[in-house]
């Protein structure tokens, strides 16, 4: 394990209560759907009942005439495609898709696709008005499944979509947006010489992020164009820029105030309602609230892509991996963009393999446009790869952890995108897993044990933070990074550590877009790393100022002053506490003490995780029970260990759901059949054992406290870990997720 002795931190590594905790447990916290502005109207969105239809005409006159209705909008109220292309140039593609996803223009591309919206004096009137909107649909043949969508005779969603990445540009549009190939060495001859080869097809269903809080916002537009939006999301700045871009507005005209967020998991890194609410408010001059129902969340907000993965992986007789050939197809939903690059990059990132060919296809079909979901792209392909490694271990009679250790990447090895791996700690994670009592605990009858590893690159990027000293020497930290996992606590802790103050002396808030500099979304496991760096830099600048003030008061050089225990220290002087300096600052000593830091670090470090899972398969009902689960992860440095463990446990649980029972089910008409929590079977508390966690701390040298991101890596291994456990318990390889009892039954029955 890590041989660095733990640095002597006072605050970092402790487990204080989060600053937003009291509000949340007492029900005071204002989440997206809770916010109300005075004079606010209530909006509702009309959604297509057809998975694929041309919109010939929309007649909103009856709805507009209903008493109480103040505004109606349709796709025609959005700026035109041409004007957006002119304004944005090459990068307009995605934004156009996001705009079209917010509201259909000439075609509804999935059941639930927004086609019109109204604002009225009550929700009931708004809903009634929707029924008065007459949409003339020409129903078109639809396609849902990945392979069906790739077929030559499939109904085509976009006649402007020509496959990128083929040797020759196709002359016909299709549902295949991109082919992507990553290759090295000679796969075929390496496979031919392999002692063990695992091969097969693995599939996963589209799954929803399953956040409890539905999408919601309030927008208020003034006659001069100045606009306010209150919304919960993973990035207020993301809402601001996307809304401004989609509606052709100056960014500075929009101010977005973040509300408490009730879960995002990647699904709140884009806009659905905000541009629509702005258009409605612009038409009537009053604030307008839009809130999705659970049904709308499932039908119209982003699932993670489903996938079909074919692979062959070979190893020599000692278990050294010699070659991998992977072809995966991701379902992007209605618009291109199913994280094929990340899928390819993460597929083999854990292992040294000289010969590989990874081919990815990004495929559109008549489903909601897919959205990010923790480690977007990685879990399905890693499920396939880790299943194959389990088969190889069985074929060669090797311990599955030993097999992985034999092939694990080490720092400096070639990385998946051509850059060398940074401080990856896969070996440490595997060794900790092997040493954990779980790995050697005896297995009860009918139980199986699976293990799997996972890689996620993490991210850095732009963040801003300000740190200011109040008149009494207490501290306010302001960031622009929505807090989805306890980051306000972590930011306050890092500032307190630098300032030498107790945690309680530092409070942290997330500001609106007019009150702090640009910060990217809280996503990509970047916030504690990047925003944390900004907080540390700003705190250090405040310490420098405090030392300078003390030096001025004492009449000595700045360099002669050190900062320790929240006070300036110098030889022969009584320490000057921050409280004393702050008190003087306003009167005699240089004015307000505050600092801002803007950062854009890209020296982030990848997250590695190894999970062990025991499952029991009922011999009659074929029902799977997760009996024991251990999540090991290299976390760099755990600023707040409880919240890091929470990320690891949450990732494991979401992955278990993905593996066992979650998944979109479509009926023959292309409509979602299980758009609610009763039939979209996320795990409930009683389905799960305690998720044990083991944090490995191999610090990231590029972060002052060694932080690596921890939010995404833990959802990468569980699909494989659970599938390997179930396969070993059931005596048959389970290749299709979810492994619902009827699937397990069918797999066992097929084996005979």
């Amino acid at each position: 394990m890590n041989d660095m002795s733990a640095p002597p931190y006072k605050v970092v590594g402790t487990r204080p209560v989060r600053p937003d905790g009291v509000d949340k447990v007492t029900g005071k916290a204002v989440f997206g759907p809770d916010f109300a502005a005075s004079g606010m109207l209530h909006g509702a969105v009309l959604r297509s009942p057809h998975p694929h239809a041309r919109i010939r005409a929309i007649d909103t006159s009856k709805a507009a005439a209903l008493p109480g209705v103040r505004a109606v909008v349709t796709g025609a109220d959005f700026p035109t495609l041409e004007s957006l292309t002119m304004a944005l140039g090459e990068s307009s593609g995605d934004v156009l898709d996001i705009a079209r996803n917010c509201m259909a223009l000439d075609k509804a591309l999935y059941e639930g696709h927004a086609v019109a919206a109204v604002a009225a004096t009550s929700t009931l009137i708004a809903r009634e008005a929707l029924q008065l909107i007459a949409v003339d649909y020409e129903v078109l043949p639809h396609v849902i499944g990945i392979e069906e969508a790739m077929a030559a005779d499939a109904p085509v969603l976009h006649d402007t979509l020509f496959t990128k990445g083929l040797d020759a540009t196709p002359d016909k549009p299709s549902n295949v947006a991109t082919r992507f190939v990553m290759a090295n060495g000679d796969v075929e001859s390496a496979l031919a010489g392999a002692a063990a080869v695992a091969s097969g097809r693995f599939t996963t269903a589209p799954v929803h992020q399953g956040y409890i809080e539905p999408h919601a916002c309030v927008a208020s537009v003034n006659a001069d164009g100045q606009t306010q939006i209150w919304a919960s999301s993973q990035g207020a700045f993301m809402i601001r820029s996307l809304t401004a871009t989609i509606l052709g507005m100056p960014i500075s005209d929009i101010r977005v105030t973040p509300l408490e967020i009730g879960g995002g998991f990647g699904g709140k890194t884009t806009v659905y309602l905000e541009p629509v609410a702005v258009l409605l408010s612009r038409k009537c001059g009053l604030p307008v609230r839009l809130v999705m129902t659970r049904d709308e969340v499932f039908r119209a907000s982003g699932p993670a892509p489903g996938s079909v993965v074919d692979l062959r992986i070979g190893a020599d007789k000692d278990g050294k991996l010699v070659a991998a050939d992977i072809e995966f197809r991701n379902s992007a939903g209605a618009f291109p963009g199913s994280s094929v690059h990340a899928t390819a990059m993460c597929s083999l990132a854990c292992y040294r393999i000289a010969n590989f060919r990874v081919t990815g296809w990004d495929v559109v079909s008549n489903m909601p446009s897919s959205a990010a979901y923790r480690a977007p792209g990685a879990p399905p392909v890693v499920f396939a790869v880790e299943s194959a490694l389990d088969e190889i271990a069985m074929q060669l009679g090797l311990d599955p952890i030993d097999l992985r250790l034999r092939n694990a990447v080490r720092p400096g090895d070639p990385g998946p995108m051509g850059m060398p791996h940074g401080p990856v700690a896969l070996v440490e994670c595997l060794e900790a897993a092997k040493a954990h009592p779980h790995w050697t605990a005896p297995l009860a009858p009918r139980h199986g044990r699976g293990v799997a590893a996972g890689f996620w690159p993490n991210y850095g990027g732009q963040s801003t933070a300000t740190v200011s000293v109040a008149e009494d020497g207490t501290i306010t930290v302001v960031t622009g990074s929505p807090d989805i996992g306890g980051s306000r606590a972590s930011m306050a802790m890092m500032a307190a550590e630098v300032l030498g103050l107790p945690y309680e002396a530092v409070r942290c808030i997330v500001a609106d877009t007019a009150s702090i500099g640009f910060s990217m979304v809280t996503g990509g496991s970047r916030t504690t790393f990047a925003t944390g760096k900004a907080v540390v830099e700003a705190s250090e600048a405040v310490v420098a100022t405090l030392r300078a003030r003390a030096a001025a008061i004492w009449g000595i050089e700045d360099d002669a002053v050190t900062w320790q225990g929240g006070a300036a220290q110098a030889a022969g002087q009584e320490p000057l506490t921050i409280k004393a300096i702050a008190a003087k600052a306003g009167q005699s000593a240089g004015g307000t003490i505050a600092a801002e830091a803007t950062v854009n670090p890209l020296d982030y470090a990848a997250g590695l995780a190894v999970h062990i899972c025991d499952t029991e398969v009922d011999p009659e009902t074929r029902q799977v029970r997760v009996a024991r689960y251990t999540a090991v992860q290299d976390v760099g440095r755990a600023i707040h260990p409880s919240y890091v463990e929470g990320q690891m446990q949450g990732g494991a649980v979401q992955g278990i759901g993905w593996a066992l029972n979650e998944g979109y089910v479509h009926d023959a008409g292309g409509r979602v059949a299980n758009a609610g929590f009763l039939d979209y079977r996320m795990p409930v508390a009683s389905d799960l054992p305690m998720i044990d966690t083991v944090m490995i701390e191999v610090p990231n040298p590029a972060h002052p406290f060694g932080v690596k991101g921890v939010g995404e890596a833990p959802i990468v291994p569980p699909l494989g870990a659970v599938a390997n456990a179930v396969s070993r318990a059931a005596g048959v390889r389970l290749r299709d997720l979810p492994m619902s009892p009827d699937r397990v039954h069918a797999a066992i029955a097929a084996k005979g």
Partner: protein
């Protein structure tokens, strides 16, 4: 002359750029201008989508000087969740 390496994700967008080889540029800004001149739209695309690594180290700051033997890797940015 900096040596330019394009990852498959970039090649999918600009198939013709495979043989790019070496580009004369003092820094990444100039490198992107040179690429844009050769391959239509590559400049705006780099602004929006690309990430660079110079000699195996990621380079967020495009003003970074390029040496005569620098190896520049162009990759696409990966979105997180």
């Amino acid at each position: 002359m900096a040596r330019v390496l394009l990852t498959p994700a970039v090649l999918a967008e600009f198939p013709g750029a495979a043989e790019t080889g070496a580009v004369e540029a003092v820094n990444l800004f100039q490198l992107v201008r040179e690429l844009d001149a050769r391959f239509p739209c590559m400049g705006p695309w780099c602004d929006a989508r690309a990430a660079f690594a110079v000699d195996g180290v990621s380079a967020p700051d495009w003003s970074q000087r390029l040496g005569p033997d620098s190896e520049v890797l162009i990759i696409t940015r990966i979105a997180g969740g």
